[in-house]
């Protein structure tokens, strides 16, 4: 076994759990020791997560997550595509925050190319990213509450999520797999009436968050199921690779938007909610506060965008597709369009790692170029993948019903775990 200084921090494999249950049963230390298989088809695992538990009565003795049921080899597929063709693949990794994935990938390739992005495009990217964060947190809140038995809140969350999806549809024509960001800027100019729709949504949102809190925050059943459940310490969170709201609710004061700003986040004023409790309740409160902060960032972005004109794409004709209008009148534009679509564009050799703060934590794209038009290697560092390693630490010694609460609270998306 592990030569580790802290072997109890190592997440066991499925075989370890089964062997442990046999050992404990035979040795008589836990006469009720049994193995329970949960998933991969289970509504509270938020996808196809399989969890193998060793139980003593209703107490969790050991737990092993088993993943890979949704593995589609996206990283391998990326190697066969042109750089611009990878953008739609990134949506499908974390399908609840497509814009964040687009952003991380585009920023990585733009860093490889050394491309400057116009300010207006950066502001629009930030605006849409924060709307994505609200959207993702709404899905989390609705499903998490539903897992615990609060069914009403789900419908309220879906009501506001519909508004965010309509915003995505307005800019990109797609509700979920938006692929709106492009290497070098954005795909299209936002449509007429877009800013009014977003403003109405943002004006409305704080009162809606109050409504959710009114349903949940003081609710004794909700508090009873969440408080003191699934605790993790800051040291364990760091040791197990936990990022994002689960880490911040355990006292790790780290937010990439503030601490390693990208895409112009340094221009915005916002607070990073942190709690020291590290339980499911803390993760709930931190995410609720994050939604309010996201609204604040969006409003600032709207202010900065008001009356601002300028391009939404970088001035790089060999990388960024030309306007359709120009293609009809200018021969160079037509040639560039033809070359980009048929041959792609060569990216100088090198490697970059670009991390952004996704709704779930640190999402990093590691892109290696060998100087050709196709990425030599694309690797995604996904927050859920690492956070899943902390599941055992959070659930050990608790009731099996708490496992459902903890899985909901770490807000995993299996699409990005399995890739």
């Amino acid at each position: 076994m592990a030569p580790s200084a802290a072997p109890d921090r190592i997440t066991p494999g499925v075989e370890d759990v089964v062997a442990g249950a046999k050992l404990h049963g035979n040795a008589g230390t836990g006469e009720h020791s049994m193995v329970l298989n949960m998933g991969p088809q289970h509504p509270s695992t938020h996808g196809v997560l399989r969890v193998v538990l060793e139980l003593d009565g209703e107490i969790v003795v050991a737990l092993a997550p088993d993943i890979g049921y949704l593995h589609t080899g996206i990283e391998k597929t990326c190697e066969a595509k042109f750089y611009q063709q990878v953008v739609p693949l990134t949506d499908r990794i974390d399908y609840l925050s497509p814009m964040t994935n687009n952003l991380a990938y585009c920023l990585a390739v733009e860093k490889l190319l050394g491309l400057e992005i116009p300010e207006r495009a950066q502001l629009l990217r930030v605006l849409l990213n924060e709307i994505t964060r609200i959207e993702s947190h709404l899905v989390w809140l609705g499903t998490h509450a539903m897992d615990i038995g609060a069914l009403t809140i789900f419908l309220y969350c879906w009501r506001e999520r519909e508004a965010t999806l309509r915003i995505f549809e307005a800019v990109s024509g797609q509700r979920m797999m938006s692929s709106y960001f492009r290497i070098g800027g954005l795909a299209l100019e936002p449509p007429k009436g877009f800013f009014e729709t977003v403003q109405a949504f943002l004006d409305d949102m704080p009162s809606k968050i109050d409504q959710y809190e009114g349903l949940l925050t003081g609710n004794p059943i909700w508090m009873g199921r969440l408080k003191g459940v699934g605790t993790i310490s800051a040291a364990d969170a760091i040791a197990l690779g936990v990022t994002g709201p689960p880490a911040r609710s355990a006292g790790v004061d780290w937010d990439l938007r503030r601490d390693m700003p990208y895409s112009g986040y340094e221009k915005f004023k916002f607070d990073v909610p942190v709690s020291n409790d590290g339980d499911v309740w803390a993760r709930y409160t931190v995410r609720m506060l994050e939604m309010r902060e996201s609204v604040k960032i969006c409003l600032q972005a709207m202010q900065m965008l008001a009356g601002k004109t300028g391009p939404i794409r970088a001035d790089a004709p060999k990388i960024v597709l030309p306007d359709r209008e120009k293609m009809k009148t200018q021969m160079e534009a037509l040639i560039h369009h033809f070359k980009i679509v048929t041959e792609g564009f060569a990216v100088p050799a090198g490697e970059v790692y670009q991390a952004v703060e996704s709704p779930r934590g640190e999402m990093g794209y590691y892109v290696v170029s060998d100087g050709t038009a196709k990425p030599y290697r694309v690797h995604m560092r996904n927050p859920s993948f690492a956070t899943l390693q902390a599941l055992e630490t959070m659930c050990k010694g608790r009731l099996i019903a708490d496992v459902v609460a903890v899985i909901g609270s770490i807000d995993i998306v299996l699409g990005e775990i399995d890739r």
Binding site: G68, H71, A80, G241, E351, A355, G364, R381, R419
Partner: protein
């Protein structure tokens, strides 16, 4: 646009220009190559020294292990490149540790003792690239089924799989 001349290549150039960087100071002895390209610091260490290198940067304040992955440079030798990304919350800096591994008996010591979070990442690299990590508590496939043949992210593995 990116200018290749802006990159600092080689241990001597990086260690002279960035002498105060905490990672450079920590790895003065262990580094065998380095580069500073696109504002990212990469330090190459020998495979057998990776645990020592991790402990050294950890002592220098790089407290959070972010990511581990491999790149297959087939048919070049050494064939595999392992990239460890480690960030410091207090310094707000990131360092990339790079290890080159030959194709024959590809193996690198596990760093799960330094960072338990490397557990899943090493299993992933083992599964998809076939690199061994001695010292790992349980090195089994993580994405592919247990009885799968081959390692899909190797460059000599066809995109459509073996038919």
């Amino acid at each position: 646009m990116y200018d290749p001349a802006s990159a600092l290549m080689g241990k001597a150039a990086v260690f002279e220009a960035m002498a105060e960087d905490p990672a450079v100071v920590a790895l003065a002895e262990l580094a065998i190559d380095a580069k500073f390209d696109r504002n990212e610091l990469t330090i190459t260490v020998a495979g057998e020294n990776i645990v020592a290198a991790c402990e050294a940067v950890k002592a220098a304040g790089y407290n959070f292990f972010e990511d581990l992955t491999a790149v297959d440079w087939y048919p070049q030798e050494p064939r595999f490149q392992l990239s460890y990304h480690i960030v410091s919350h207090s310094l707000r800096r990131r360092v990339r540790l790079r290890v080159l591994v030959g194709s024959a008996g590809a193996s690198v010591p596990s760093i799960t003792a330094a960072w338990p979070s490397a557990n899943f990442y090493e299993r992933e690299v083992f599964d998809l690239f076939g690199i061994d990590f001695p010292g790992h508590p349980r090195l089994t496939r993580i994405m592919m089924p247990e009885d799968w043949q081959g390692h899909p992210l190797r460059k000599d593995y066809p995109v459509e799989g073996y038919r």
